[in-house]
């Protein structure tokens, strides 16, 4: 068991014919992910990496039965790509694209709230269920199958934590990068709910950062609904207020969204917070 993606995931890649799309599609195929289609408007009928290209997601779905999408298209086209995949009825959309205007994402989110589709991202590394399917840009080989579910707003920081877990012999059920933007499709609480229900997940790692209050909301959710052990890390303790730290969503504004507040909220509900990324794996090992 796992969450979001597994052996049955039939993936369509939106933007497969682009440079990044092609590079990562090749890596996903190598990992064992079933990619059944690519979509690039105007390039329907071609074949790339042995995968048929369609003009629209709806056509790709009708022809291949794809049930999930990954999006690698540039920021100005990505909102449409998300809406297209959602309207085509896909269950899961993973949007890697960074730099989508926030008002576009608000409109997209408002539309998705009326549909059953789940969106992960944007501005995220994707989702991987080790040994089954990789729907993202993470280096597959650092992961190994196992009992830890990991959810994070970051990309490379997640790889750091995963690599440390795997080196200690602790595998992962599913690793979910929810993205670093202020408006994202799925938040900590959404993914925590899935991990809580997943029998294969025995412990959860939550990696947050400055900005917003999703970590504080996660703390409340953990107290009320999560019975599995949770370990956390929060990046940005040395971040100055009012400055955007790379991620559009990583900003302390009006004294809100500090690492200290988030750490306090998590510790208050009994979640141990690692002092640095290397400590995450040790804290997990003590709790398994």
């Amino acid at each position: 068991m796992s969450i979001l993606v597994d052996k049955n995931t039939r993936l369509v890649v939106q933007g497969l014919t682009g440079r990044e799309g092609m590079f990562h599609a090749a890596q996903m195929i190598e990992y064992g992910t079933t990619i059944v289609a690519g979509v690039t408007p105007g390039k329907g009928g071609q074949e790339v990496l042995g995968v048929p290209i369609f003009n629209t997601v709806a056509e790709a779905r009708a022809a291949t039965g794809c049930n999930a999408s990954i999006i690698y298209v540039p920021a100005r086209f990505a909102p449409d790509a998300i809406l297209e995949a959602a309207d085509a009825g896909l269950e899961l959309i993973v949007c890697i694209t960074e730099g989508i205007p926030v008002l576009d994402m608000i409109a997209v989110r408002a539309h998705l709230e009326r549909l059953p589709t789940r969106l992960i991202g944007p501005n995220c590394p994707g989702v991987i269920t080790p040994g089954e399917a990789k729907v993202g840009i993470m280096p597959g080989r650092i992961h190994k199958p196992g009992p830890v579910g990991l959810v994070s707003r970051s990309g490379t920081l997640t790889y750091e934590a995963v690599a440390a877990l795997s080196e200690m012999g602790i595998g992962q059920s599913t690793v979910v990068g929810i993205g670093g933007d202020p408006i994202i499709g799925s938040r900590f609480v959404d993914i925590l709910a899935l991990f809580q229900q997943d029998p294969a997940t025995k412990a959860i790692v939550l990696i947050g950062e400055i900005g917003g209050n999703d970590e504080e909301l996660a703390a409340v959710y953990i107290r009320e609904h999560v019975t599995k052990p949770v370990v956390a890390f929060i990046a940005g303790q040395t971040a100055p207020p009012g400055k955007r730290m790379g991620h559009a969503g990583a900003i302390i504004s009006g004294g809100k969204g500090t690492a200290a507040d988030k750490i306090k909220a998590l510790e208050a509900v009994g979640v141990p917070v690692a002092h640095h990324p290397g400590e995450i794996a040790e804290l997990v090992a003590q709790r398994l």
């Binding site: 008002l103 408002a110 707003r153 408006i183 990046a235 730290m245 969503g249």
Partner: protein, 385 residues
Amino acid sequence: MKLHEYQAKRIFAQYGIPIPRGEVATSPTQARDIAQRLGKPVVIKAQVLVGGRGKAGGIKLARTPDEAEEKADAILGMNLKGFTVRRVLVDEASDIRRELYLGLVIDRARARVVMMASAAGGVDIEEVAATQPEAIKTVVIEPALGLRSYQAIGLASAIGLPQEHFRMFQQIAQGLYEAFIRCDAELAEINPLVVQGDGTLLALDGKMVLDDNALFRHPDLEEMRDLDEEAPAETEARINGLSYVKLDGEIGCMVNGAGLAMATMDIVKHYGGAPANFLDIGGGARAEKVAAALRIILSDPNVKAVLFNIFGGITRCDEVARGILAALEQVPTKVPMVTRLVGTNEEEGRAILAEAHLITARTLAEAAQKAVAAARGELPAEVVR
């Protein structure tokens, strides 16, 4: 991107929001001429991108053109919280009876734009939020519907605004929303929105922050960027597509990924050092970008050591390694470098760097400790370039 008060107010005026008559001056004599033309007492306002200008002495009343020249002379060139005042706005003084607050922000938890209003205007709204949150009234705006008139009037009523002002308040609220959406803002504020003695409303001050990710569709707004207000290193970073924030420490950090970059800063601190900067070289960083990043880091004279922390996903380690070598050729330096490269194509990356005799590390903790030691001059000389 933050706009100056005068820029924000000019945009507001385009959307039907009344603003005081006024013009921008860059010299005391210009300020005098403007005051002369206005023929009324004026307010001289420093145009710098920091809050609290009034308390810091950057806003002064002048009753005559002579006084305007004198006050402008005092304000122009003054240092306000680290920024030199190069421009002043000379606005006609108004007859203030009440000060309100009206603003639009992105509510992340609700994933909507919300409008906030308060009868406690003219003061820092964050302070109001902290001390008397009940004084701030909020409406949530559906993107497909926009701000409806009942919502605007609901706000006016909720903050106790007398009924005779409802229509004008509604017009201003809807104008502000229109400006916010059309400009792709992430914040738009009128603070204070004043009720004048003649019963009209006026946007006395204006603030706008635009969404950097949306500037591609607003070349006209991008042109409003004030490079004087940006540190030169931050300008160079932006042009090269890098995220860079200067800090006060001695260890330069070049990292891929924002979360890891923050965690790298944090761990440097954890091991007794202090980060000189936040720098995310982003995904898929090529050699030229890495070279630019290194130039920017080394332009800070406080930097005593540089820590490269690369975990390859989208970024390939061999590309970064080549970038580091290219950068070192362009920017000869004696500053010690600690490198840690893991992930996609890490073997190729390490092989490329092996020839350059850089200090290497396997884990982040090891890299941070070595960088702190190198900055203190505690690492053996042979590995230091």
